[in-house]
Amino acid sequence: MMKSGLVSWLIAALACALVAVPVAAAPGGKLVLYTSQPDRDAQRTVDGFRKKNPGVEVEIFRSGTTEVMSKLMAEIAAGSPRADVLLIADALSMERLKAAGQLQAYPQADVSELPADAYDKAKTYFGTKLITTGIIVNRQATMKPTSWKDLLKPEAKGQVALPSPLYSGAAAIHMGALREDAALGPDFYARLAHNGAVALRGNGAVLNAVAGGQKMYGIIVEFMALNAKAKGSPVDFVFPAEGVSIVTEPTAILRGTKNPEAAHAFVDFLLSKEGQELAVSQGYFPARRDVKPPPGFPDVATLRILPVDISELEKRDELNKKRFAELFGG
């Protein structure tokens, strides 16, 4: 009798093992995502991911980049970070996380179609889109700018709003890119300040100010301006002649993730053709070269992209911010 019991137990165990193996092959379990994507976009991203990976249950925390980073920092300090994957606005914040050793590399990620500076060399974070920063113009403006230098003209005096790098990593990247550019020079921001430009907290505030008619010109990310224009706001968006800076809305896997398989699958999805096409449908430039941009957007190849070295930028961040504070107050 004991012998037959043992045999049944063995058979059962084998059966379980056979069943378990295929299940283990596909990603499952829970995946915790912290993101600063706008709410609707985040939901659609997760839905798209789940269609391809139905076994994974995704829990999202969504807030501003600052809030997401604060939450993450607090969890790390308390010794038990919850997030598995991050999808936030700018590479500068990712660079800091990397420097603090909080990211986990994913060497097998497929970056063949990504531009070289859209992902971290050590494969700890990967850009998922190309979000450009350009000029938003209120239709009532008399002067129509075509270049960054136009913002220094007398017609733009006191009429320019820009997002403050003190509160936004993306704005810091933009400032870094402009400073690097030979044509604009490191004193571009100083001249902006002298021309009465005003620093606001974030791109949303710039949109409000320009669309609301308080300022005629603003420095802003393109999707926000183009979305507003599509809804009927009296604004236009210009890709300046000298070039645009890029933020890539990178994704990364956190060290100590409890579900590395699902995390890998998430990154794979974002970098895949489908994931990129999803981004396009949401109104963003894709990061992949083999995916077409949204209708009405210029071809990426025609854009002049101002390069910026993120790790260098991170090192000089304090100094840059101090200079900015001296120019614009705060």
Partner: protein, 565 residues
């Protein structure tokens, strides 16, 4: 005046409540202090040292003091004057007036700031119609410390109003009549009798206004950043956005600085309150009503036009924003649309959930805090005043620190499962409730302790003589006597918790978003028109709840709701 000594049931309750206060207020702040002084577990005053030596920090601290004192002063002026008007004169329509006066508390500061910016900007429908719209590109009149002081004062005025009103209700009638018999006219009586005796109430309200202002983020964010005017709270956000390795401990250190400033405010309040002490044996005495005669119409007109300017106009600007299809489009009879409301109510699943969550969280927090505050205040009344003051100070801290900092403290404390119970509150809606209990404890406790200070112990002693034990006395004697103050406090808690934004922005998880979170998300995404729609709905819903409570209150004792004259 010592009350009679306690028995075991009371001692146990007191210990439990005191323990709760410690858990809710002391532990998070202590954890923050630990983060400031010993980040990563090792004692390291380097961060604190940097903070103390940074000129930017002291500049920001100075700015904080300036606008908070200014805001508190304006709030005192408006709130006390309105309380005097409502309590001592015979102006008509008091209920609606008070109702409207409380409204700034219904609206989140971010939303108020946005509405005012739109109202006074170059694109303002109203100003354009009047022909005094500022030229596009000119500096916005509200940017800078002046605008911040104005909006802070307007926002905190209802808090001062409630405190002074409670004080006026306790003013013995014969003190005013004696002055009348001595020949003094109403204005002299207000100046020489009423105001001096109201000092403790005014100081209490002013302190709440001050403490509420130093941690306020929304208004300096919108009005200070564009003018390069930084206060400690926006400096904290800068540090958080920077995410350096020491960012958290810097933020904790800056918060301690804020707590220190709050402590100074408390000390000032204590000094002012000690100088006056009025006790009454009667439960309440009716205050006299002065007839304003011919002035009445003018005064009423001034009140309503003031309220209109300060409330209706910004709210109208908000509604106008919610009715246009996209930001920046001017509202005309042809292009007005309800699509935004349709979107937030029907398409955007988060909204309804958020309203339900916010309402339940706010109501639960309010009820729990009031239920806690009454026996706690009662027990404190019978003990040393130093203990009372300590509790009062401790309760102030979570209210004074910025919402984001309290949220961080909550994460630090509640991330790991609770020690004895083994359950984790993190990533549930309960962590938001705990944060609200911590943050708004002060608003419930202070009115109750003030009310109890003014009641003669003989009323409690008579109940003891009749054989009533602790629980029965609290329910049948103490609770009814402090009911108006307690309910006023509870109402404040509810209103502020419902519209709260910065705390829940960090603590919410799937399914537990609050109204503030929804507002914040929409606004950050550049969807200001949907955000405006949510804000309008929030105001309407809160107004509805206030009206509902009005209807219920007719069954309850007179004067329980703050706007019942």
């Amino acid at each position: 005046m010592p009350w009679m000594p306690a028995r075991r049931g009371e001692r146990l309750t007191f210990a439990t409540l005191l323990g709760l206060v410690v858990l809710l207020a002391v532990v998070p702040i202590a954890r923050l202090a630990q983060e400031a002084l010993a980040p990563h577990g090792k004692l390291d005053v380097g961060v604190l040292d940097d903070v103390v030596h940074s000129p930017a920090v002291w500049h920001a601290a100075g700015n904080t003091l300036t606008v908070s004192l200014g805001g508190a002063a304006l709030a005192i002026l408006l709130g006390a004057a309105f309380a005097l008007l409502v309590s001592l004169t015979d102006i008509r329509a008091k209920k609606p007036l008070v109702f409207c006066f409380m409204m700034p508390l219904l609206i989140a500061p971010q939303v108020t700031a946005l509405a005012w910016i739109n109202l006074l900007g170059p694109n303002s429908t109203l100003l354009r119609a009047l022909g005094i719209a500022p030229a596009p590109g000119s500096a916005h009149p509200l940017y800078g410390p002046g605008g911040i002081v104005l909006l802070l004062g307007l926002e905190q005025a209802p808090v001062v109003f409630l405190a002074v009103r409670a004080g006026l209700r306790a003013l013995p009638r014969d003190l005013v009549e004696a002055a009348q018999a001595a020949g003094a006219r109403p204005w002299r009586i207000v100046r020489t009798i009423v105001l001096p005796l109201m000092m403790p109430s005014v100081a209490a309200g002013g302190m709440l206004a001050f403490v509420g202002s130093i941690g306020n983020f929304g208004i300096p964010a919108f009005l200070g950043i564009p003018a390069g005017f930084t206060v400690l709270v926006t400096l904290i956000y800068q540090r958080l956005a920077g995410f350096g390795t020491s960012a958290l401990s810097e933020v904790a250190a800056l918060s301690l600085l804020l707590a220190l400033i709050a402590l100074c405010g408390l000390a000032l309040n204590g000094w002012l309150a000690r100088r006056r002490d009025v006790r009454v044996t009667a439960w309440t005495t009716a205050t006299p009503e002065w007839t304003l005669g011919r002035l009445r119409g003018a005064v009423e007109g001034a009140c309503w036009s003031g309220l209109f300017l300060v409330l209706a106009l910004p709210f109208a600007a908000l509604v106008a924003t919610a009715l246009v299809p996209a930001i920046g489009v001017s509202l005309t009879p042809r292009n007005f649309t309800l699509a935004n409301f349709h979107f937030v109510l029907f398409d955007y699943a988060a909204t309804r959930r958020a309203f339900l969550n916010s309402a339940s969280l706010a109501a639960t927090a309010a009820v729990m805090l009031v239920v806690m505050a009454v026996p706690l205040g009662y027990s404190l009344a019978g003990r040393r005043s130093s203990l009372r003051q300590a509790v009062g100070f401790v309760a102030e801290l979570p209210y004074a620190v910025p919402g984001v900092v309290l949220a961080i403290a909550m994460i630090l404390c509640l991330l790991r499962p609770l020690p004895l119970l083994g359950l984790s509150l993190y990533s549930t809606i309960w962590i938001i409730l705990v944060a609200y209990l911590s943050r708004f404890m002060l608003l419930a406790l202070r009115p109750v302790t003030n009310a109890l200070r003014q009641i003669d112990p003989s009323l409690d002693e008579a109940a003891r003589m009749s054989g009533a034990r602790y629980a029965r006395r609290v329910m049948t004697v103490i609770m009814p006597m402090v009911a108006p103050s307690a309910v006023a406090g509870g109402m404040l808690v509810f209103l502020m918790a419902f519209n709260e934004l910065t705390v829940s922005a960090l603590l919410w998880s799937s399914g537990s978003e609050t109204v503030g979170v929804v507002l914040f998300s929409l606004e950050q995404a550049g969807d200001a028109v949907s955000a405006a729609a949510v804000a309008v709905i929030a105001v309407v819903v809160t107004l509805g709840m206030m009206l509902l409570s009005n209807g219920l209150a007719s069954r309850v004792a007179r004067g329980v709701l703050p706007w019942q004259p």
